[in-house]
Structures are given as structure tokens and as C-alpha cells.
């Protein structure tokens, strides 16, 4: 699967660019304290709303904070939320999806009806409600978005499990006497990993977007901590006199989300055996 992803990378320059941008974003997030030229929360009231210059490469916001440093830490917060949501909802999706799909029965019934109920809510409304109950902050943003995105995972994993469990190799393992739990982990899980990976990239994109939306309305990453969403919110009030604030983080969100969507597309092509071109 990894080999065919590398083939896709060589085949498509757009995918290569997206992958490079994502790697760069991860590097920025990891190295944020080293890369940021200034303290992202340091106010400088003599340099508020300063346009980009040598001292402030992307300008400053209304408190005179260095926008580049805030963007770098905003990237870090966005990726922390995105990665945590992908991992947690992926884990929940794998466990519940495989249990529901492979073992079936009442468990399947209960899990899937719960997933249906949750999917009936628009995910942002669901997340808003959960944050209202849990209180704002990065951990509750992660919890809320995990709950919002897990049902899609459960559905995707379950539907793939239903296909895989009819394969003769699962029947063969059962006849050999392999225990059901071992079959689920050894035979079913690896064969649903591909679609999960694709869904992971998609969920990452949507989680970044959702985190920005929540932070924009003040419910995601709490100020003064930086996030693309709250930087845009701060820039909205000065969209005429200091357009660089909203523009820079807007461009960053678009680039990040678009790259993730292109990556998901590339992964999908890579795991689909019928898509292979020479």
C-alpha cells in the first residue's frame, strides 16, 4: 500500500506538493518554540496593527503581537486538535465498527442506531452543544470533535468489515480454529486499514476546519492562545485597515485543508487496486 502511494506521489505533482505542504506544516508545529521569532503572546502596544515589515514579517495584530509567531503556534494548536481527533475517532471507529460489523447482533443494532442519531445532527451543532456542556478549551474541543466525527468512522469501518468477513480467508481461519478476537485483529483490521487511512486524512481536514470555526466564535482554542480561527476573528474587526491579519490565517487554513483533501484523494487512489495505471 505504501509502495503504491509512492507511485501516486511520482505520478501526480499536485499530490506531491500537498504532501510536502503537510510535512512542512507538521515540522512547523513540532518546532514552533524554535521557529517562532517572538513570544506569540507578547503584547507591544506601540506597534499595534503594524503592516508586514522586517521586524514583523507578517505584521502585528491589535495588541501588537507578532502575527508570524502567532501563526506558527496557531498551526501547532490546529494540528494538535486535528491529530488528536483523527486518532481518537479512528480508535473508536475501529473498535466499535469492527465489533458491530464482525460480531453483529444486538451490539450492531445499538451501535449503529446511536451512530445514526449522532449523524442526524450537523456536526458543528453537536460540537457546539458538547463544548457548551464541557466548557471551552483545547481538551473539550478535542472531545467534542471526536464525538462529532467518530460515527462516520464507525459506519465506514463497519461497512468494510461486512465485506471482509464474508471473504473465504476469514472462514478458513474460523475453520482452523482461530479465536474470533484474533480473527478480528489479524484478518479483519488490516483489511479495513486502507479506507480508515483515507477517512483519517478527510477527518483531519474537517477537524482543522471545525476547530477554526469553533475558535472563530470563541469556543475552541481559548485566547490568548493562538489559533487560525481566533486570529481570523481578531482580523475581522480590522479587515479594512489591517487586512493581513485575516488574510494570512485564511490562506493558511485553505492551504492546509486543501492539502489534506488532496492527500486523502491520493491515498484513496493508492489503496484502490482497480485504479492502478502504469
Amino acid at each position: 500500500m505504501l509502495d503504491s502511494f509512492f507511485i501516486e506521489l511520482r505520478r501526480s505533482p499536485v499530490l506531491a506538493l500537498a504532501a510536502a505542504l503537510i510535512l512542512a506544516a507538521i515540522a512547523i508545529a513540532v518546532l514552533a518554540p524554535v521557529l517562532a521569532p517572538k513570544d506569540p503572546n507578547l503584547q507591544n502596544l506601540r506597534a499595534t496593527l503594524a503592516p508586514p515589515s522586517a521586524g514583523f514579517p507578517l505584521g502585528t495584530d491589535e495588541y501588537g503581537r507578532d502575527l508570524l509567531s502567532r501563526m506558527i503556534f496557531g498551526m501547532r494548536n490546529s494540528l494538535i486538535v486535528g491529530a488528536a481527533v483523527v486518532l481518537l475517532s479512528g480508535l473508536i471507529g475501529a473498535v466499535l465498527g469492527i465489533s458491530a460489523g464482525y460480531f453483529g447482533g444486538w451490539l450492531d443494532m445499538v451501535v449503529m442506531r446511536l451512530a445514526d442519531i449522532m449523524m442526524a445532527f450537523p456536526y458543528l451543532v453537536l460540537a457546539l452543544g458538547l463544548i457548551a456542556a464541557l466548557g471551552a478549551g483545547i481538551p473539550s474541543t478535542i472531545v467534542a470533535l471526536t464525538v462529532a466525527f467518530a460515527p462516520i468512522y464507525v459506519r465506514i469501518v463497519r461497512s468494510k468489515v461486512l465485506v471482509v468477513k464474508e471473504e473465504a480467508y476469514v472462514e478458513a481461519a474460523r475453520l482452523i480454529g482461530v479465536r474470533p478476537r484474533t480473527i478480528a485483529v489479524r484478518h479483519v483490521l488490516p483489511n479495513v486499514a486502507g479506507p480508515m487511512l483515507v477517512q483519517g486524512a478527510l477527518t483531519f481536514a474537517f477537524a482543522v476546519l471545525a476547530e477554526a470555526s469553533l475558535s472563530f466564535v470563541g469556543l475552541g482554542v481559548p485566547p490568548p492562545a493562538a489559533s487560525f480561527g481566533n486570529i481570523i476573528a481578531a482580523g475581522r474587526d480590522h479587515i479594512i485597515d489591517a487586512p493581513w491579519i485575516a488574510t494570512s490565517s485564511g490562506v493558511a487554513i485553505v492551504a492546509l485543508v486543501l492539502s489534506l483533501l488532496i492527500l486523502a484523494d491520493g491515498l484513496r487512489d493508492a489503496i484502490d487496486p482497480y485504479q492502478h495505471r502504469l
Binding site: 473465504a168 480467508y169 472462514e171 478458513a172 482452523i176 480454529g177 489479524r186 483489511n191
Partner: protein, 333 residues
């Protein structure tokens, strides 16, 4: 005294509920995939089961191996009644009865290497493991060292089927049920795989149940052959007799459909009309009466035919043979 059969199947039926109709007019009907089948296999024997698709032969195979629990009847393996055993109790029995599958693509996990595939039965049953054992198994099926690291998609269909057989041999089972083991393979490969099974059978003293829709394959391979139609056995007997001079009109029609490699020789073909009836509402009496060219009359529609003796311990269930001695009464489920 005759030896104890390794596998004894007595009046086994496997029915499936089928939900029909919409939400308001839901009714549950019964699909009688296997409907009152009896036979016994001696140790070391090769037993063939032929029939059209939909005749219930694959369901019968999976019922024997207790993938399905039969609706009625009894299955005895080496004297042990396994009809009602649960999965835990079946564990040690399963080691001795294994299955070879039709679809070589689907029967091997695409994400596991050959080594891992062959290790699975060994580790599951706590048998001696390791690369040497894996190579040993590969050599038994005509493969070798060079295939250990391969993934299934790097092998040909014939090679994959050999891996499927090696996986079964790893457990050293006494009974192998092969469900259409060659019908997905090229004709040139079919003979190789059949010969491999044959040589393993004589070398290891295996008992083999071979299921196929190709009566030629079964006649070549098996000492005894049974013919299934619509979930029932209609004829059984020595392979040579059933495939050369069959007694049941259905078997006769099947045999006459085999093309012969003799140009210019015109044979009388028995053409059956109509479709195989649905196993959901199978015909009463003899299942074949709707298409039978020698149908006697009302008795065929009303009564299930008993088993009449043919030759060499063979029998056929057909009312037209009523001048012969009865071996067993009609097999109601």
C-alpha cells in the same frame, strides 16, 4: 465386519429462513438448501459430490464441517456426534476436518505472507513452528523455499491453491472437504491440482470429500460418487458406475451433457427442459419430477422415492427403478 466410517451423515437437513415481502406483508419462508441427506465415508476413501449450482453441495460441505448447524439429522465424525457441539467443543474436532476453498483469491488473506498464512494453523494448535516446518509444508504441495516470503497476489491461481492445501496439511487432518477446488483454475492447472490431491491422499492416507459441478472431475478422482439435486441425493455409487452407466434419469442427463473428444460421433443427448425449481418451494415427491423424461405419473409427484439398489453398493432414488430391491426407505427429513 465393516470398519467404522470416518464420517457418517444421517438424514441431515440445513434450512435457511428467507424473509420475503415488504415491511407490512412480511413472511418468512424456508429455503431447503440441504434436505435429508445421508451417506457414510470410510477412512481413506475419496467421495465425490456433484450437482448443479444451487443443488446444495456447498451448503452440505459447510454443514459437515459445522460452519452451519444442521436443522435436522445427525453428523458423526469418527464416532463422535458433532451435530450439537458448540465452537469450543468443536475446536479439537476441527483440527481433523479441514476445508479447501474454491476461490483462491479470496481464501488467502492478501495482507499476509505465505509464511504467516502457514504459521496460523501451527500457532493456533500449538504445533511445532518455524521456517523449516513451513518449507516442509510447501514442499509437500510442490512449492519451495522461494515462496516463503511471497504475498498471495504474487502467486498464480494454481500456486495459491497449493498454499490453501498446505495450510490444511499443516494440521495433519484426517478428513479434507474440497469445495470446488479446481473450478476457478485453468484447465491445464486443474489436472495438476487434482493429481496433487490424489498423491497426498495415498501418501498420507487422507479421506477426501470432493465437491464439484464437473462430473468428469469427480469421476476421475473419486472411488464413490453421489449426485445431488435440489438439496437431496438422487444417486450414489462407485465412481465408474455413476459416471459410465448411471441409473437415475437426472444423472443420465448430466452424463449425456459431457462433450466427448470424438468428432463425428453423434450421441443421443438427453435435453432437460425448464429450470431447476426453487429450493424455497421444492416440488413434492421426487424433486426431479418437474423435469424428468421418464416420469411415471402421480406417484412421482406424491411420494419421495426410496433408494433402490443399483450395483456394487450403489443406489438411485427413482420410482422407475421399482423392480429392484429397496436399500433404504424414502428419506424424509
Amino acid at each position: 465386519m465393516t470398519p467404522r466410517p470416518l464420517l457418517a451423515v444421517e438424514r441431515v437437513a440445513t434450512h435457511f429462513p428467507v424473509k420475503r415481502g415488504g415491511w407490512l406483508r412480511r413472511r418468512v419462508e424456508t429455503l431447503k438448501a440441504v434436505d435429508g441427506v445421508s451417506f457414510a465415508i470410510l477412512p481413506g476413501e475419496t467421495f465425490g459430490i456433484v450437482g448443479e449450482s444451487g443443488s446444495g453441495k456447498s451448503t452440505l460441505a459447510r454443514t459437515i464441517l459445522r460452519v452451519y448447524r444442521p436443522t435436522a439429522g445427525r453428523i458423526r465424525f469418527d464416532g463422535l456426534d458433532i451435530t450439537e457441539l458448540d465452537e469450543t467443543a468443536l475446536g479439537p474436532v476441527r483440527r481433523n476436518m479441514q476445508m479447501v476453498f474454491q476461490d483462491t483469491k479470496s481464501s488467502l488473506n492478501p495482507r499476509l505472507r505465505v509464511e504467516q498464512i502457514l504459521d496460523e494453523p501451527l500457532v493456533t494448535h500449538g504445533l511445532p513452528r518455524g521456517r523449516r516446518r513451513v518449507v516442509e509444508l510447501l514442499e509437500m504441495v510442490g512449492l519451495g523455499d522461494s515462496h516463503v516470503e511471497r504475498y498471495p497476489h504474487q502467486l498464480s491461481g494454481g500456486q495459491r491453491q497449493r498454499i490453501g492445501i498446505a495450510r490444511v496439511l499443516a494440521l495433519n487432518p484426517r478428513l479434507i472437504v474440497a469445495d470446488e477446488p479446481v473450478s476457478a483454475l485453468d484447465v491445464s492447472i486443474q489436472a495438476q491440482i487434482l493429481n496433487l490431491l490424489k498423491s497426498l491422499q495415498s501418501r498420507l492416507g487422507l479421506t477426501i470429500v470432493l465437491i464439484a459441478h464437473d462430473i468428469g472431475v469427480v469421476g476421475y478422482f473419486c472411488q464413490r460418487v453421489a449426485v445431488m439435486y435440489l438439496g437431496r441425493m438422487v444417486e450414489a455409487g462407485p465412481g465408474r458406475h455413476v459416471t459410465r452407466s448411471p441409473s437415475h434419469p437426472y444423472t443420465q442427463a448430466l452424463i449425456s451433457a459431457i462433450p466427448k473428444a470424438e468428432p463425428g460421433v453423434r450421441r443421443s443427448r438427453i435435453l432437460l427442459t425448464g429450470e431447476i425449481p426453487s429450493p424455497i418451494n421444492p416440488p413434492t415427491g421426487c424433486p426431479f419430477h418437474t423435469r424428468c423424461p421418464v416420469k411415471l405419473g402421480a406417484i412421482c409427484e406424491r411420494e419421495r422415492p426410496p433408494r433402490y439398489r443399483t450395483v456394487d453398493g450403489g443406489w438411485a432414488a427413482c420410482h422407475a427403478l421399482n423392480d429392484r430391491p429397496v436399500v433404504a426407505e424414502a428419506q424424509e427429513e
